[in-house]
Symmetry: C3
């Protein structure tokens, strides 16, 4: 573990270790309150995200370290057209670890291959957001005591929600998991997830349009938002919208030990009346996110000495270019265009994982 770019780069063993560290921090905070004394975290947020930035900064402060903060592109050298590579090399002279948020897919990977210090991906466009998934996992672990034999309902926009895909991928590695995928048909989980992840791991799953119908079976309910514009038609939206808003009455059929998660921020998909319900875990989830980031910072800085640089899998292919307009290779100067082949023979961009044909 030199840098953390995508949660699926982590082995089950590495995730278990991070959870173990996080739990020890929760139980013995004073043991860690000076663990990172004289160390510096640089939070490079080239796109605003208070929640995630403050979570990283709170994590570093609770470890006794300090923080160099960049909270928007306009106040940064990026405004002067500096490359991500040069920013990473420069900040490596100032800090001990970087947490980076950037609008371009693959930006954190581009930074990690140039930085001489560990890089944590705090969100690269619509590509990955591994610390959110790690926060989700720690929440499930703390609420349920483990990952085995859980019935996990995931509700909302399952087509475009990347955090949902990462969560499914991460949970699919544990035994006895069942998924109930709750969404309008036009926003159901894409095939590469159902085929490539869920079925491939022989995970039982059902798909439904109706949250209430699914409720009774669930141990975990992971809520996400559906943006109005994602629906095929206004009629569809009017027909379905209420079924994806969690209200107290929809909980009537739920298990007494259900755990309700949400990556936040929410708009109206969970009524505030639910906040008082002991089954509401989404603000605890925020706290667990902080502890997970503490564990990550500890682990990565601890290993930083040993490990070498992050290397990118893949090779150069004559004339091949990534067609993803938001891919970092389309804005970053002198970044080698690399591609890799998946088991099923697809060719994908090494930076943003977009399929090339």
């Amino acid at each position: 573990m030199k840098s953390v770019i995508d949660v699926v780069d982590l082995t089950v063993g590495e995730i278990d270790e991070l959870i173990k560290i996080a739990c020890d921090i929760i139980e013995n905070p004073e043991k860690y309150q000076d663990a990172m004394k004289h160390k510096k975290l640089a939070t490079l947020f080239f796109e605003p995200s208070t929640r995630t930035r403050l979570s990283f900064e709170a994590a570093m402060y609770e470890l006794g370290g300090s923080v160099l903060s960049v909270s928007s592109a306009q106040s940064s050298s990026a405004a002067k057209g500096e490359s991500i590579a040069d920013t990473a090399k420069t900040v490596s002279q100032y800090a001990d670890i970087i947490a980076m948020r950037h609008p371009k897919d693959g930006a954190a990977l581009a930074a990690s291959t140039n930085a001489s210090i560990p890089v944590i991906n705090a969100g690269d466009g619509g590509h990955c957001h591994p610390t959110q998934t790690l926060a989700d996992l720690l929440t499930v672990y703390r609420e349920k005591g483990g990952f085995e034999n859980l019935c996990v309902g995931i509700c909302g926009d399952l087509k475009y929600g990347r955090t949902v895909h990462s969560l499914i991928a991460a949970l699919s590695r544990y035994a006895g998991i069942k998924f109930v995928l709750i969404s309008p048909k036009e926003l159901s989980v894409p095939e590469y997830v159902t085929e490539g992840i869920i079925k491939k791991n022989n995970i039982p799953f059902t798909e439904t349009e109706f949250l209430e119908e699914a409720m009774p079976k669930l141990d975990i309910l992971y809520m996400t938002r559906i943006q109005r514009e994602r629906f095929d038609s206004e009629e569809e939206y009017m027909r379905l919208k209420d079924s994806y808003i969690l209200t107290p009455d929809k909980l009537s059929g739920a298990k007494p030990d259900l755990s309700i998660l949400h990556p936040l921020p929410r708009v109206n998909e969970i009524s505030v009346d639910i906040d008082k319900d002991p089954r509401a875990c989404y603000f605890k989830q925020v706290r667990y996110g902080k502890y997970m980031r503490m564990a990550l910072i500890l682990k990565l800085i601890d290993e930083a000495e040993k490990d070498g640089k992050t290397t990118v899998r893949g090779t150069h292919i004559e004339n091949a270019v990534c067609k993803n307009a938001r891919c970092v290779t389309n804005c970053e100067r002198e970044l080698e265009k690399l591609f890799y082949h998946t088991e099923n023979g697809e060719c994908r961009c090494s930076w943003c994982d977009t399929k090339i044909d």
Copy 2:
């Protein structure tokens, strides 16, 4: 004292205690330099105000704590339409205390009712700015050794200046105070202050249009700015503007131990030539503001464990809505509309104190 939203919520005893703590900090800073070690202040400034933000952050650092800083709306989740309530609940997972600045009247109260940690109102629109008033009070106390028997001149825009109204309300609780209210007629103190506060407390006061005329009596001169557009007519502005600009010659008739205060920032209402005059206290006032914020942070975090949540006085009234366009109830989702009745039977919004009829 769970949270501090409006200075008049504090009893004279509580203010005296804060002044006592602030004075002890001034005399024994080293005693406090690690008092807040491992504690975190979140400065949530959804509206720019360097002076106030840096004052809070300097205060926390001088107590040995650390700071999570949000210095503008655009770099925050608020940009994504998150409710103040959710922001407060989230930041409660990261920090030990919040200092919040927000453009909406009542925003800090809305945050405090949802946060599980103390909230200090660092300015909610044109509604309240209690730490400014507390800084003013500490300055008067340090300069005069107390509040009794002082002749306090307040000059400038006394109609719209909320800090002025708070200062009058706070000082009206001490014995032997006299006010000299200096302003153009169209910008004189509103009736709810003269009738509802000054006369109600049997405080002797005079009103005048001319600063120089008032000068000889004054122990304290509190200067504020008048915005040109506040005048009824351009003629009025031209006739009066110079009389509200403090210049060395205007000080000729003043007492040798006069103390000149100003909330800052100033434009031109106090000539820079006055800065060297020993009677100029407005930069000392900035320093006292820092010490008062240190006292507040200490006191609130100390009491945080004991106290419960902030509760809002008032009840729901069928169909009643607050007509103040800047009231937080007009932008915040699912915030209960509450109202209370004053002694003289007025009905007011519980969040922004606007009168309902």
Copy 3:
């Protein structure tokens, strides 16, 4: 040394002392890691510059101090039209030292004459950027063991590049220095530098249009960027542009112990293939910049007690005004317009050093 506004205000002895301190920090970092405990640096960046701001903040953290950060004008009182003088007086109540970046020429000097704490100029418009020059000097010193008898090549836009002029001025004070000035004719070093600094100090120098031709002699190569629009004509640009882009082949004739410097950020004037070359020093230079800022902070805070205020040389001249549109005197209220005479009888603005005629 009360404040550092322009590198030429520092004597050779003072620069040597700063280098000595910086070297001791590099060799014994732990000796300094709590040297500034309980001290505060205010980084007032009214113009974005992540690199410089983070360098100052990293420097303060590595000295055990804390940081009050203002990273853009829009989030500051400046937005409310506060004068630089009042900002300086206010921040003096909060911090122990200021590092200030401002778009106006002379802004840092205006701040230092009003602050009661030391001010470091982190760039005032196109006027001065002393900590960049000090970083350049430390890099040369560390790479070459001293400044004597070096052949220093400076390449790029030598007409408008202020850091280049400062570097020439600073190096011209050491014995045995030789300059090779590499630029298109229309962007060659201005006369006030060749005549007023280089020749005046009897420094041997040559001027050339061609980097490759100069390469073999050089001990130091200082690269800077040329902006396309600086060229007289598109033809000129097309003819010359490639000759100012450093590529591996251009290094073929270079000394094995050449040191390549660049103030950064770069666009494309140094190919990234050079980064791996041991002669590339520009990222080490970033690190040296941090150490030099640590030395400055230590030195200035240490001397702060002793020294008095910064005073401005020069006198008031009836009706004289500075014609530099970017001069701080053209935006700052009540800032006395002062002028001084140079040895050769020129009259210059005391704030931005622009020649008055």
